[in-house]
């Protein structure tokens, strides 16, 4: 199986709200796939369709070579899911919930369970009502990561975790990948995605707007150049693909499309370069570029929650 998750043209509406509007998503086997988008973009809705909890209105969805709605039970034994806001039963201890979820998925590895508890510094004897938000999240993570499954579906799993625990989480996701598992990681923590993900899909208003490796995505975008030149500036502004040119004496700063980078650098060297700093676009810039354009559009779907 090459693609554990294969979604095309997925549409899901809630009343008049179009939460998913022709979404495409392909996750390759053995990879960690980042699923990025602001609140209400449709990440959780997509995941719930993949889990067979919501029924798609249109489009094709394949999960582990099955139909997530029809084959839900059989597929669920091969995956583990952590929601963005883990809620626990007030009178059950964390350890009981971990075992319960593990058993309902078809068993968990007791050795890995113990290791996970230790590295996440989680006391499994506390009752559900006594855990903080971060510790509830850890209960969900331990239950999922200790399960012997092919696919991990994690919906903003680290909300409420402190930076140390974020490190621990990343360690375990890498280990899951080494073991050959596939991970779909929905997130809006960009550093986490940059650190972990092989490929990324950015969604907005229920539609994928970008998809590819981080390298590919960067390639599509602009590099920032900050240079000091010896000769007076000339002929840069006319070049296609150069944006936001600012000149301050001998110092020039501009953004340039990847396609025009070669031409722009030639022009610079002709002018005589004394110093040069170039920065590839960060994920954050990619992200903001997609979301800052029209903030009014970005709010159709609190209904997906």
């Amino acid at each position: 199986m090459e693609t554990p998750i294969e979604v095309s043209g997925l549409v899901k509406t809630f009343g008049r709200t179009r939460a998913l509007d022709g979404l495409d998503l392909t996750v390759r086997a053995g990879q960690v796939h980042g699923f990025l988008g602001p609140n209400g973009a449709g990440k959780s809705t997509t995941i719930r369709v993949l889990l067979g909890l919501l029924r798609a209105d249109a489009g094709a969805v394949r999960l582990l070579d099955g139909d997530p709605w029809r084959d839900a039970v059989a597929l669920h034994r091969r995956l583990a899911y952590v929601p963005g806001d883990v809620t626990l039963w007030p009178n059950l201890s964390g350890g009981e919930v971990i075992d319960l979820l593990g058993r309902m998925r078809g068993g968990l590895d007791p050795k890995r369970r113990a290791e996970l508890l230790e590295s996440f510094e989680l006391d499994p004897r506390k009752k559900g009502r006594a855990y903080s938000k971060g510790n509830r999240q850890k209960v969900g993570l331990v239950a999922a990561l200790a399960s012997d499954v092919e696919l991990l579906i994690l919906d903003e799993p680290t909300s409420g975790l402190d930076p140390l625990m974020e490190e621990v989480f990343q360690h375990w996701v890498r280990r899951a990948k080494q073991d050959g598992r596939t991970v779909l990681l929905s997130s809006h923590i960009l550093a986490e995605v940059e650190a972990l993900c092989d490929r990324v899909t950015i969604i907005r208003n229920g539609r994928a707007v970008e998809s590819g490796t981080l390298g590919e995505l960067r390639h599509l975008h602009r590099t920032s150049i900050d240079a000091e030149v010896t000769a007076p500036l000339d002929g840069l502004a006319d070049l296609p693909g150069v944006h936001d040119l600012r000149v301050d004496g001998n110092r020039v700063r501009f953004d340039v499309d990847s396609a025009a980078l070669d031409t722009a650098l030639r022009r610079l060297t002709e002018l005589g370069v004394r110093s040069l700093v170039s920065q590839p676009p960060t994920l954050e810039e990619l992200f903001l570029r997609h979301y800052e354009v029209a903030p009014t559009e970005a709010t159709p779907a609190e209904a997906t929650r």
Partner: protein, 530 residues
Amino acid sequence: MSTLTGTRHLARLILRRDRVLLPLWVLVLAVLPMTYATSFFELFPTAADRAAYAAGTARNPSIVALLGPVYGDSVGALTAQRAGFLLVIVGLASLLTVIRHTRTEEEAGRRELLGGTVLGRYAGLTAALLVTYTADLLLGLLTAAGLASTGLPAAGSYAYGLAATLTGVVFATIGGLAAQLTETAGGARGIGIAVLGAAFALRLVGDTASNDWPSWLSPLGWAARVRPYEGERWWVLALPVAASVLLAAVAYPVSVRRDLGAGVLPPRLGPATAGPALSGSFGLAWRLHRGQILWWSVGFGLMGLILGGAAKGAGRGVEGNPQLEEIMARIGGASGLADAYLGATLSLAGLAAAGYGIQAALRMRAEETTGRAEPLLATGEHRSTWLLSHVVFALLGPAVVLAVTGLAIGVTYGLSVQDVPTELPRMVGAGLAQVPAAWVPAGFAVLLFGLLPRLAPVAWAVLAVCLLLGQLGAVLELDQWLLDLSPFTHTPQVLRDTWSVTPLYALALVALLLALAGLAAFRRRDTPVT
């Protein structure tokens, strides 16, 4: 900053949040004694009638156990005794109100939000106590005014009213102390209700024994010992005042010595791993429902013991009253009257058990909206299995509770008529006969959950309509087809000689079909629907 700064604001917040609930219980509890007095005036117009009632019914040990002692034959004395059980409810309402505005707030984290503002250390507890004390005072004054308006002497009316107020005050303060002890509101309520239960048991033992000293130790025994209408002993009112001062003197220091959110009693740890039973939906459902099954059974069992013991005496009050004796003869003499009384008791238990069934079925809805169902439904468990694991308890729970009720009634009634071998199976059977009707509203709740999850709480309205049809149907002379809408109309009177089993099968079938339709709808719908 004074330790009481902000009390006024908090008190106003409490009044705003309780603007419906608080006036409601104050009014209902204040009006009931007045209605008792009115009906005593009508039922027993002469001193001879009252003396007969007092000798026959009011001094019957089972009535004394439930309501408390009676100190005379006047309408006032009879009313004060009849209203005895209301004191338990006044205590419960006061207790729960204080906990609701102290520990519940703290547990939910809302106190923390307010704690950041200008608030004195004692403001939270003081505001909750002050509002509840005021409600109790209003309740007492309204009760007294209502009683006096029926023509009862003013002194006795105010003695009873004040006794009710101070009973509420004691239990409000007990609630204030309990709220300091545990981390959870549930735990605090548990402590408070346990104290209330112990007070009731003490009073019951004292009032039925030859020496009544245990009643003097119980806050629920003091009101009667004020002897309203029978030579008021006002000094007894100093007991609840002193008790409240003492309790508050403990609660306040504890409230400032502990941390916000913490309790005095440490929270208990659970097991680090799950036992073998907790391995699927049914294991989980058992964990979620077992406490309720246990407590409902205990509560209904105790009620059954008391009411079963009182049944034989139900016939005695009419001795010497020719009209009532005639009615009694028509329904089969003393045992007929006891059967009618127990039948009515059991049909009320059936309604309550239906409420339990609805509550258990709606547990699914709570699991869905809080997000706890989602990770479970994303495991290898089938949706149907998850739903059935809760439906089983929505059906099993009422059955267990009604069987226990029948059993308890059978034991005490059987003992009182010295024929346990006959009465025990008869009463268990009569309890179980209520089960199919009680299942129908629960089945309806399952259907709503599957089909129209947002409207699931409407199941309660359905039960309320059934209750009204049952209570008012005969009074308002409603058409039979309207009465037939309620499943409870179809439950046969199994304590009579002849009855048919067919309606029981039919009701059970209807309940089952409703639940199955709910299951079918749930399998097709999106989840979670919030």
